[in-house]
Symmetry: D2
Subunit: 281 residues, 4 copies
């Protein structure tokens, strides 16, 4: 399905600095970037880099003097979401797991899976099918954690959220990842554009590694899963920040949008009791 | 300088399981593995993997039934430590930093640099030379943190240690890394064999990225820096565990040793006021 | 029921110091101290104080020089446990609560009830009868938290235990208290001697304020509730430490025992579905 | 010196609830309440209580139905601040300390002195004079912690602030208290009205127990110490909340002021190197 996405950001530099943006849509077998434009005002030479892990597309540019910088990214993107039946899937034992997956098994800054081991096993350890296990823990987060803007900050982690039970999409994703890893299911953070997200913003959710592929889960249930356009994946939000800013540069405003570019969209959400998941490379 | 290293470990499996060991010495331009043997008793087929980040050498093997497993690793290793003068070095701005270095700038599980930003700048922000900056913060850790076996556990992080001021080598390393990253200096965790470490054990310290190379620092000052043989590097201990165990398998005992294999060793430690560091790829 | 209790402690002073012990049985309408002896070897003049909150009996003594100090406390105590039916009890609204109870509603060092508000309400908010509410949360702790010696330390708090789900009696009590307070039910920490505790030691559990009296709960279920002899109550372990030591004095060993002094003991535990509780002033 | 203080608060009740306010000026030998009025609109019967610890004046009232409630408190207060010379003061050993002071030696919800033991001793343990010790740690907080509105929330504690080094008056006070207690100096939280505080608000600072009296310290240095009018003291903010609200009642707005009621005010601040402190019972 084709979507038009837009991200406009404004920064105010009080001196020289460097910005690394991660707002470009990924180019993958499941996601085609049909067209895109990226511009800064004033014009600054931008270097495109590829992240070490994942294939995230980073834009690095240097601000040489104080002033206001505007960034504009627009793209038309076609995503190919595949709905699969996971009724027959079994867990991938670590002994047979592709070793490039290992980093997504270990605890990270915001996903302290080492501290959630007993809780995860107490709550979900009895479920055999790994898709059902992750779907169940995602539902558990949805039921127990309140979506509450402003209730958390950039330091909030899964260890906080599992008890405080309030947060935003980032916190829902971190908790999902931490619970998966505590159950020896690799999981990673997903950032993207999201159709029908209100208010419009970047979105975050997570992918779990089930049956040798990455399957998408979103404990917020705020948007249809097939309306997501992927920007980046990583161990958690520390790896996939929309912007990393170095120097005395302030983020002042942002505008994000994501609209359909063709007809015929049928929203897809997971349904309880159905072992059908969406894979998104 | 040539060293003989030995690691013997014993595990007791109560059922099937998988172990991933990271005890093999790295093979790098600065470290030659002259000879090595690795054996398990009983014999188990072992798969050698290379970690995604760094070139750490992982050994994965599957335990198929309950029982005792012994692991024996022996190697003769020649390390080439280069002492360099960093008097003239300047900071690598992020705008010119090789992007493969970025992950070592971000906070990780045990190195919450995002929480140490003000403290690091208050204490060390005024130092211009980046080598001196890291040497000074390493000394600060050495002076303020008490080396105390048993005072911390596998969940202790830099955020704890900066206040509680007690720990073991792992904690000293995590705090050094977190302070560096808070100062926009990339830093990574180092595990290895260590000559003259008492009691004999694996050791951990850290590397900071200064003047486009990785320079070794050890806030514990327990061993000469040129007596270290590198096993692995990573973001923190979560990336470089000596052993990751999956399944109902218990670690029961360990023996580590590191001895000189030739004459002529002159211990090298950093000295206050000297901007001479040891680079170790 | 009459019990004989004994506590022997040994300290090694490396210089002068002060010890404040809280091991004397409380004297209350529900607990008679029939006889007791307290001695130190060498003899030291001891000052008996009463804690500001509660009526805990503190013994303060000054160690004037380096050496070994032995403390011996023996008592015969008669406790009067009253089993009451709480089927008809309703919550005491804050508007009508005796204000001396307020401190037990607020968060304290080890009982961060402010962080458990949503979790407590999600899990137990729907239960109407306050006794049933506390009994249910006590059972929840018993089912979900593993009793594991050595898994926690003196800094572990309810915020840790609710997620890490392992601990000792102190941690079980702190979590119970924090959950009660999050539900606007006053709760306090209880320390005492415990009949049938294995291995023999001091014990900790908690009291919740229900229907204008303090009712005893023990999430560990390690001992019969009517075999407890109360030493102290307070907001949490910070208020009721067995010993507070000032100066360079080390605790070196301890022996505790609690035996029946008469026949006819019938162990009393709470039973699921029975709204019968034990009040213990 | 005489001051006029005013506090107006507005609450919006969505159903019945209870509010306990702690905004009345304390009546002590050092502070005379010359006149005061307290009113709610609509009129509600208010019960005046005295806190168990300290003599804080609590106003409890019950809101019986949904609606808006306005509270107005006005008072004319005369405070008597005594400036004393502490050059000759020595530490009060625990062996001779009045036992009613003990609770202010122990860790509390926001002042985890048990975690700051080594840090406090490393930084301030060498200072002999207890007034100088507390003055020095207060200056250390002032120099290292940034006053930054909105940087913290109601869960922020001294353990956070000592590392994150940003906060508001409440955080400055908690850190001061925690450092004192880690040094075996009793310390307690102080809330009050503050002359010349901009923007006008309630203020928080702390008292340390030096030479058998409570001496006032304020690491924010935002206001003259002799322009403070005391409302309450307690172990930390958990004991001295301006308002404790039970039920579905929202705090919607507040107005606070503190003005001179007579001429001749000479602002008093501590000066470096001067061992003169202000005692305030």
């Amino acid at each position: 399905m084709k979507f038009n996405v837009l991200a406009e950001m404004e920064y105010s530099a009080r001196s020289a600095g460097t910005i690394i943006l991660n707002i470009h849509a990924l180019r993958t077998p499941h996601q085609t970037v049909i067209s895109e434009t990226f511009a800064t005002d004033p014009y600054i030479k931008v270097e495109e880099l590829t992240s070490v892990h994942g294939e995230n597309r980073l834009m690095r540019f240097e601000i040489e003097e104080a002033g206001t910088i505007k960034v504009n990214y627009q793209a038309t993107i076609d995503n190919l979401c595949e709905v699969k039946d996971f009724t027959e899937v079994t867990e991938v034992p670590v002994a047979h797991m592709d070793h490039t997956i290992f980093p997504y098994l270990y605890p990270s800054r915001y996903c302290q899976s080492d501290k959630l081991y007993r809780l995860a096993h107490n709550l979900f350890g009895h479920i055999y099918n790994p898709f059902e296990k992750v779907a169940t823990l995602t539902n558990w987060i949805h039921r127990n954690v309140l979506y509450l803007s402003g209730s958390t900050n950039s330091q909030t982690s899964a260890f906080d959220t599992v008890t405080e039970q309030a947060g935003v999409c980032r916190d829902f994703a971190h908790l999902g990842i931490a619970l998966c890893r505590a159950l020896t299911i690799p999981a990673r953070y997903f950032t993207g554009y999201a159709y029908q997200l209100k208010p419009a913003d970047f979105h975050a959710c997570f992918e779990a590694y089930i049956g040798n592929e990455w399957v998408l889960f979103d404990a917020t249930r705020l948007v249809p899963l097939n309306g997501l356009l992927k920007i980046a994946s990583g161990r958690d939000a520390a790896d996939t920040a929309i912007a990393n800013i170095f120097g005395d540069v302030l983020f002042t405003s942002m505008l994000v949008s994501c609209e359909l570019a063709e007809d015929g969209f049928t929203p897809f959400y997971y349904e309880d009791g159905q072992l059908k998941g969406l894979s998104y490379l």
